[in-house]
């Protein structure tokens, strides 16, 4: 398919899927390789949002509203999660003077 063809038929669903996959992969890799807790949280947000994007795209594609409703829920949960996560992080930083997750090993069995 040529670029012109794409523009003619509007942005098809495949583009959204590719974009969401890319975003999710970036987030996942970030979570795995980075050690800074703040970056980790941001990467998790990125993964959540990639899913949101996909939900909205499919919702439009099928002409149904439930995907979009889901997104609201996820946004609320993500916000809550970020709040809890950041506050934990602040406490951890206060106690340990670091945000390096490699040093958070108090749960070692």
């Amino acid at each position: 398919m040529t670029l012109a063809g794409i523009f003619q038929s509007g942005v098809s669903i495949q583009f959204y899927m590719v974009l969401a996959t890319l975003l999710f992969s970036i987030g996942a890799v970030g979570v795995l390789v980075r050690r800074n807790a703040i970056i980790l949280l941001m990467c998790i947000e990125l993964m959540l949002n990639s899913v949101n994007l996909l939900l909205v795209a499919f919702s439009t594609y099928f002409g149904k509203a439930d995907g979009q409703i889901f997104v609201f829920f996820i946004m609320v949960v993500a916000a809550a999660e970020a709040t809890v996560g950041l506050s934990i992080l602040v406490m951890a930083y206060r106690n340990l003077r670091t945000t390096d997750v490699g040093l958070f090993n108090k749960l070692k069995g």
């Binding site: 996942a28 490699g102 749960l107 069995g109």
Partner: protein, 636 residues
């Protein structure tokens, strides 16, 4: 009064006495307590005489159903016939005399009201035993008398020196009886399986109608019944409790361990005569066990120095004698000897009680001697009892023993000879006892001598009555040689199931004469031997250490107690301790702990995975998700 009311009243009287004394006895004066207990017994005896006079046919009194399930029916039902009436007379008659005696004997005891409560309870249980119309009721009474026996043997449980020992003797009696009871119980199960009923009548009629179970079944039933009888009636191998049971107060020994309870085993066999008649193997066993017991106990009695122990072994021996008779099918002869034995053995025990009373609870005959001066009534009555048990001519023991010996002669001469030896030994040790206690010089300390006294009337009166009965008791079943008509044989045979069918042995006059002659010679010979040894030579039994050989064996009761201890008591204690230490603690507990250890260990293993590092958790999570994705993509 109708017969059923009479019987119910007789049954209720001792129970009422026990209830009154048991609940209020503590606050009542002793004389009232004793009078109530003794009074109910005398009334019961009077009523029993009425029953005896009015009853000629077997009568049944249905009380209530104890257990009634589909095909199982166990009733509380009473049966009055010749056999139970005879036992009723013995139990209430001898029982009331012993109650009367106890009023004097136990006067100083603080447990006075308890004693009479137990005695009355015992009579109640014994009455259930003899009056029940089925083996189930018999078992009720059977164990009931066991309990009372336990309570009374251990009566002085808080005594400083002997308290624990009394308790142990009581426990031994109960446990040995329990072993016998187990046999009886199994006989009951077998009968329920075989006949579907425990009524004497139904079982008996089934057998008499020719509806015989297989030989093995009959053998099993009768053998188990006999095992029960060996427990209660102190036969080999379950006899060692009876001598120990002398730890109880003397009236108890007279009532329970001589006159009534120990004859329960004989009663059981006589009651079940229809079964035993068809089980010759069991009869043989009974015969030989009885013979062995009779001889062995007589041997043991030779060297006992405790006045009550001598009488106890004598009881075991006499019971063995009776079992020999049962083994030969001589049921009436057995009951005859049970009756006369009840008279003279109760007399001897009560006499010994009177002696012990006079001696301030000293029971060692080596410290007695010459008592005839101090306690004349006891002396005369004891002498009569001794002569009766030794079988001096024309006393009660003479006739009853003779009938058993006649059976033996008819059966097998060897058995007759062995029994004659046992009878001879009986005469010897009884005269030894009599001479050592009553003749010669007093050997106790001055203090005791000073206080020697004849017992009060309420103790001597029973002695006198029993002495009279011991003298004339033989008239119950006088052989035809002396113009008698075998009254007891007819009476029992008339209304007791099975007994009329059993062929009685009737020897000719010349044979009877010969038998009686031999018996008289033996008894008189024993009298002479004992007289020479203990009066003429004035010899006193040696102390235990000086004894050697046979005498030592006799004094130590053939070491049977020690043997049982080593064979049964110690191993069971050892097994108990070993089971607890090794199986319970080391094996089972460890096993369960092992399970928890496995869980603990697996926890140890898995916890290594918990590194605590978030990145590694995330890594595993992502790996897992990717793995799952790959799996499903490949699969679909």
């Amino acid at each position: 009064m109708a017969i059923d009311k009479l019987i119910l009243t007789i049954l209720a009287l001792p129970l009422i006495g026990a209830l009154i004394n048991g609940t209020m006895g503590k606050s009542l004066p002793k004389i009232v307590v004793g009078s109530i207990a003794t009074g109910v017994m005398f009334v019961a005896f009077a009523l029993a005489v009425l029953v005896f006079n009015s009853n000629h046919e077997a009568t049944f009194i249905h009380l209530f159903k104890v257990i009634h399930l589909d095909d199982l029916e166990l009733n509380a039902r009473l049966q009055v016939d010749g056999l139970s009436t005879l036992m009723l007379l013995i139990v209430t008659g001898v029982g009331s005399l012993i109650h009367l005696f106890s009023m004097g004997y136990m006067k100083e005891d603080e447990g006075y009201y308890k004693f009479f409560t137990y005695l009355n309870l015992f009579i109640f249980a014994m009455l259930i035993l003899i009056l029940g119309s089925n083996y189930f009721m018999l078992f009720f009474g059977w164990e009931g008398v066991g309990i009372c026996s336990y309570l009374l043997i251990g009566f002085h449980y808080s005594d400083k020196e002997k308290g624990m020992l009394n308790g142990i003797a009581a426990r031994k009696a109960f446990i040995m009886n329990r072993i016998g009871d187990l046999g009886l119980l199994i006989a009951l199960f077998l009968m329920l399986m075989q006949f579907g009923t425990l009524e004497y009548n139904e079982v008996g009629n089934a057998i008499l109608a020719g509806d015989l179970p297989s030989g093995w079944m009959l053998f099993g039933i009768t053998l188990c019944l006999f095992i029960g009888a060996t427990g209660k009636s102190a036969q080999i191998p379950l006899f060692t409790w009876l001598p120990d049971a002398m730890a109880g107060p003397t009236p108890v020994s007279a009532l329970i361990h001589a006159a009534t309870m120990v004859t329960a085993g004989i009663f059981l066999v006589v009651r079940s005569n229809f079964l035993f008649e068809h089980a010759p193997q069991t009869q043989e066993i009974i015969l030989y066990i009885g013979l062995a017991t009779s001889l062995m106990a007589a041997f043991m009695a030779m060297r006992q120095n405790d006045i009550k122990k001598v009488l106890a072994y004598s009881t075991v021996s006499q019971l063995g004698f009776i079992f020999v008779s049962l083994g030969m099918g001589g049921y009436v002869a057995a009951m005859f000897h049970v009756t006369t034995h009840a008279f003279f053995k109760a007399l001897l025990f009560l006499g010994s009680g009177s002696v012990i009373h006079a001696m301030h609870h000293e029971q060692d005959i080596r410290k007695m001697g010459g008592l005839k001066k101090y306690i004349p009534i006891t002396h005369i009555t004891f002498l009569i009892g001794t002569c009766a048990i030794a079988g001096l001519p024309f006393l009660s023991g003479f006739f009853s023993k003779d009938e058993i010996l006649a059976h033996a002669l008819h059966h097998n001469v060897v058995i007759y000879v062995i029994m004659a030896i046992s009878a001879l030994l009986t005469a010897i040790y009884m005269f030894r006892l009599y001479f050592v206690v009553f003749q010669g010089e007093f050997r106790g300390d001055d203090h005791t001598k000073h206080h020697l006294h004849e017992s009060p009337l309420n103790m001597t009166l029973p002695l006198i009555i029993l002495a009279v009965l011991s003298l004339i008791g033989g008239l119950l079943n006088v052989p035809s040689l002396f113009g008698g008509n075998h009254w007891l044989t007819h009476y029992l045979g008339h209304s007791t199931l099975g007994l009329n069918k059993v062929a009685e042995v009737h020897l000719g006059d010349s044979q009877t004469m010969m038998l009686m002659g031999v018996a008289s010679v033996l008894a008189l010979g024993a009298l002479f031997f004992a007289f020479v040894k203990f009066v003429k030579n004035n010899s006193v039994p040696e102390s235990d250490e000086q004894l050697t050989g046979w005498a030592k064996l006799s004094a130590n009761k053939l070491y049977i107690d020690e043997l049982y201890n080593a064979l049964f008591v110690k191993p069971i204690e050892w097994i108990s301790a070993a089971l607890h230490r090794f199986v319970e603690m080391l094996f089972l507990n460890r096993l369960i702990d092992g399970f928890t250890m496995v869980i603990d260990l697996s926890g140890q293993l898995v916890r290594k995975w918990q590194t605590g590092i978030v990145s590694s958790y995330l890594f595993w999570m992502v790996t897992g998700i990717v793995g799952l994705m790959v799996y499903y993509i490949v699969k679909f």
